[in-house]
Amino acid sequence: MNVIILLIFAGGVVAAGFLAAFVWAVRSGQFDDTTTPALRILLEEPTKEAPLTKDVIDG
């Protein structure tokens, strides 16, 4: 019996830990913008290609 009560409290502590993590995430602004980061991860960092000169652009 006692082991179940111990389990319940252990579970409660773990759940409270996740709640604390959620509160921290919200407070640090991680939910302020949910659209942009989802797109940002798909975009490639542009390579350091040499700037094209005017002649190249014009043909």
């Binding site: 019996m1 759940a15 959620f22 302020d32 490639e44 005017k54 652009i57 014009d58």
Partner: protein, 810 residues
């Protein structure tokens, strides 16, 4: 910039006529006669071409691979004044925009409404490649803002704004930068988190009891009861606090809103559960309690998210320049508009709006009052005449003396009309208030009736009374409206019809009268006008066109039209805003206003009163002929207005003269009013309302502002996403306007869906109340009935609105 793009246009007119079907390489718009063709592709305008060249020069052409047709058309960009960001050089103005200064870094957040896709995001976060003074930039696609960190020692705030504009992301210089929206949402997320956390744990301790089918052994029942109470307490005190606060405020104001029965239901749920648990009499209803708060808050989040994406509030100040150039003994200084004093000499550049009623100091000037009156053609003013605030200077820079301070001007006068002060009463608000009242009264009555019916048994009577109040929570009702209208708002927003808030959708569904502005709404802007002439031979007409090609006045540009061979002209003399004369192939050609042509040729012209759009032209000494401009209808508008007029009473309210009336008789019949001042339009809207009609006003300019604000639903038309719109309830993109009937059908659908949800909700309440009154409402029945009713409502409202969305998004 203007002359450059004009030159580019002229060079390419011939080539472009064969390329009508080509689309712009930058923005994907169809290319017409103004197209610019280079070796790297075809562009709809010089602006798009220069953005492309700029991107290529920085090796940033990957912009075009991130998303489909990512660019924003720059067609109107070349009309903008290159000095429009000069105000940012004023430290007072700059201070309002820069939000952080530390260790030599400044941070500014600009709203850039033309940002719209993954490519925009990619480009705006690479700003540091364009200027070494920019350290980093972060775009927020949801709020359409870009935050730029820069070193003020290397790049000025003004240069940052100009850099953004040169890439096609015209920053909007709002007076007040983004407000505390994130703070509100953060607190809602936390409340949902706490409620969800409690809900999950309480369920964990409630299910054993339900699964067991009989009360658990006492030591478990007590432990679980106390744990449930401990988990639910933060829900009551923190997550649900807003409902209690709102109910308290309503009670103090002696009104009953929908928050009252919710707060009452929550309080009774928690109170009875606490009593049962602490007395050891039962397991309580805390699973239903925490679940209910969780679902209610999710509904609230849905509602909030739907309209945060559109920053909406505009004031008259947004139309006016932030600061103007004032000439003093010490030289020209930039002064904030509010600080202008009567007698100040100001210089207003082309395309700038005159900030206050002023006397013209220059000999001639042309002022475009399209904002204020809706007239398409610039008005000529002479030295000493009053130039009204809100007029836009065309042609060249004008000097004027301020006559009245900004707040006393006619424009500000219109805007301080009480119509802009009062908050609009939405039907949804009054509907929910009435509903909340009835709901509370009926629930209370049933609770009392139930208690009396069971009376001799005092304990059972209390149980029944509390059970009635618990189950009679209008949770399904509070979810139906936000979910349905929030979905409708999102779908319409994606299609280019932006609502200020979701309640507007319901107001629009009840409208029975629709008033249209003409210029810019039914017709497109003056630059695309069609030209007809009378009394001129073909040869003469060609000469007039060739002369017009030498003038930059908008009317001349329309007359010159697609002319390719401009040829040489000598002795060209343009009197700003009045007319132009010159000699072509030995013929003397005069073009301009009636008085100008009369004075130049000696022919008396009996001017047609009110015919502002008529221009006169004469070749040699022959009698002058007339030229008429008529702005073309917006594609699809005649059909759209005809469709709308079949179901609604329609009005045409135009600032223009009546010459174009016959074209619109089919859709409007006799309900057309011309030469309407802003006050006239406002009066018409008020008269309709006095006759108990619910009216929607659709217009584009400041001249409609009063009518837009007074109408039950004011819809502003915007052809440019970056354009400033007057105070209104909704903004519709110009190209989506012909689809108005589809949007109207969709909001009517939203109204029917809400009514259906209300009916379903009533059915669930009837079931719950039957159980409660017969004393059979167990915790298990509550725990099933409450979430199931909420979820049915969510599924119905979102599902039906999504199903109907295909037509809107087509």
């Amino acid at each position: 910039m203007t002359s450059l793009s004009a030159a580019l246009e002229r060079d390419n007119i011939a080539a472009a006529s064969a390329l009508d079907s080509a689309v712009c390489r930058h923005c994907g718009d169809p290319c017409d006669r103004a197209a610019v063709i280079t070796d790297s592709g075809t562009f709809c305008c010089g602006g798009c071409e220069s953005v492309f060249t700029l991107l290529s020069a920085h090796g940033m052409t990957a912009f075009y691979t991130c998303d489909v047709r990512p660019g924003t058309s720059q067609r109107t960009a070349s009309n903008r004044d290159p000095g429009r960001f000069a105000a940012l050089d004023d430290p007072d103005v700059a201070r309002r925009f820069v939000t952080m200064r530390s260790s030599g870094l400044s941070r500014v957040v600009f709203p850039t409404p033309s940002m719209h896709c993954a490519s925009c995001l990619w480009l705006l976060e690479q700003l540091w490649r364009f200027d070494p003074g920019i350290v980093r930039s972060e775009a927020n696609l949801m709020n359409r803002t870009v935050a730029v960190e820069f070193r003020p020692s290397e790049i000025s705030l003004r240069a940052v704004a100009e850099q953004l504009a040169s890439l096609g992301y015209e920053p909007v210089l709002d007076q007040e930068p983004a407000s505390g929206v994130p703070a509100v949402r953060r607190s809602l997320y936390l409340k949902i988190g706490v409620a969800g956390f409690a809900f999950g744990n309480v369920m964990l301790f409630s299910i054993p009891r339900y699964a067991n089918g009989a009360p658990l052994p006492p030591q478990f029942q007590e432990l679980f009861g106390v744990l449930n109470l401990a988990f639910s307490l933060p829900v009551l005190l923190y997550s649900a606090a807003d409902y209690f606060r709102a109910a308290w405020a309503a009670a103090r104001g002696r009104t009953i809103t929908l928050d009252v029965p919710i707060a009452l239901g929550l309080a009774v749920l928690f109170g009875r559960s606490a009593v049962e648990i602490l007395a050891g009499a039962g397991e309580g209803f805390l699973d239903s309690f925490s679940g209910l708060v969780f679902f209610l808050l999710i509904g609230k989040l849905f509602q909030q998210k739907a309209f945060e994406s559109i920053a909406f509030e505009r004031t008259v100040q947004s139309f006016l320049p932030l600061s103007v150039r004032v000439e003093r003994e010490s030289g020209v200084t930039l002064t904030r508009v509010e600080a202008l004093r009567p007698g100040d000499t100001i210089a207003v550049r082309p395309q700038e709006v005159v900030p206050a009623d002023s006397l013209l100091l220059d000999a001639h000037g042309a002022i475009d009052y399209a904002f204020v009156t809706g007239e398409q053609v610039p008005v000529n003013v002479e030295r000493g005449a009053i130039v009204q605030a809100g007029g836009r200077v065309t042609g060249r820079t004008l000097r004027m003396a301020v006559a009245r301070t900004v707040s006393h001007s006619r424009l500000a006068g219109l805007w301080s009309d009480p119509v802009f002060e009062q908050a609009k009463a939405h039907w949804l608000t009054s509907l929910l208030a009435r509903f909340g009242w009835w709901f509370t009264v009926i629930a209370m009555t049933l609770a009392v009736v139930g208690a009396i019916a069971w009376w001799p048994d005092g304990r059972k009577a209390a149980e029944v009374a509390t059970a009635v109040l618990m189950i009679a929570c209008p949770c399904a009702f509070t979810l139906a409206a936000p979910m349905t209208l929030g979905t409708a708002m999102g779908v319409m927003g994606r299609a280019g019809f932006y609502l200020k808030n979701s309640a507007v959708a319901l107001d629009l569904s009840r409208v029975d009268t629709i008033a249209f502005d003409k210029t810019g709404t039914l017709t497109t802007a003056a630059a695309d006008a069609t030209v007809t002439h009378q009394g001129l031979s073909d040869a003469q007409w060609l000469l007039v066109q060739r002369l017009a090609a030498h003038s930059v006045h908008p009317v001349s540009r329309a007359i010159a039209g697609a002319l390719t061979d401009t040829g040489a002209a000598s002795d060209v003399n343009e009197t700003s805003g009045r007319g132009v004369s010159g000699t072509i192939d030995g013929h003397r050609v005069v073009l301009g206003a009636a008085s100008f042509v009369a004075a130049e040729t000696g022919h008396a012209i009996a001017g047609e009163p009110g015919a502002d759009l008529v221009t006169w032209a004469a070749v040699d000494d022959r009698a002058p002929g007339t030229i008429r401009l008529s702005a073309p209808d917006r594609v699809g508008m005649p059909a759209a207005t005809a469709a709308v007029s079949a179901q609604y009473t329609t009005w045409l309210l135009s600032g223009d003269h009546a010459t174009e009336a016959p074209r619109w008789t089919a859709a409007f019949g006799t309900r057309m009013k011309f030469r309407q001042s802003p006050e006239d339009k406002l009066a018409t809207v008020r008269a309709e309302q006095a006759a108990h009609h619910r009216i929607a006003m659709i217009g584009d300019g400041l001249n409609d502002a009063g009518a837009l604000a007074a109408a039950d639903v004011g819809i502003a038309v915007s052809d440019e996403t970056a354009c400033l719109v007057p105070a209104c309830d909704a903004v519709i993109r110009g190209d989506q306007l012909p689809r108005l009937p589809v949007f109207l059908a969709y909001v009517r659908r939203a109204r029917r869906v809400i009514m259906l949800c209300f009916a379903v909700s009533i059915a669930y309440n009837w079931l719950g109340l039957t159980l409660a009154l017969t004393g059979r409402l167990t915790p298990l029945a509550t725990a099933i009935l409450m979430p199931v009713s909420s979820l049915t409502i969510v599924a119905l409202s979102v599902g039906l609105m999504r199903h109907g969305a295909k037509k809107v998004l087509a």
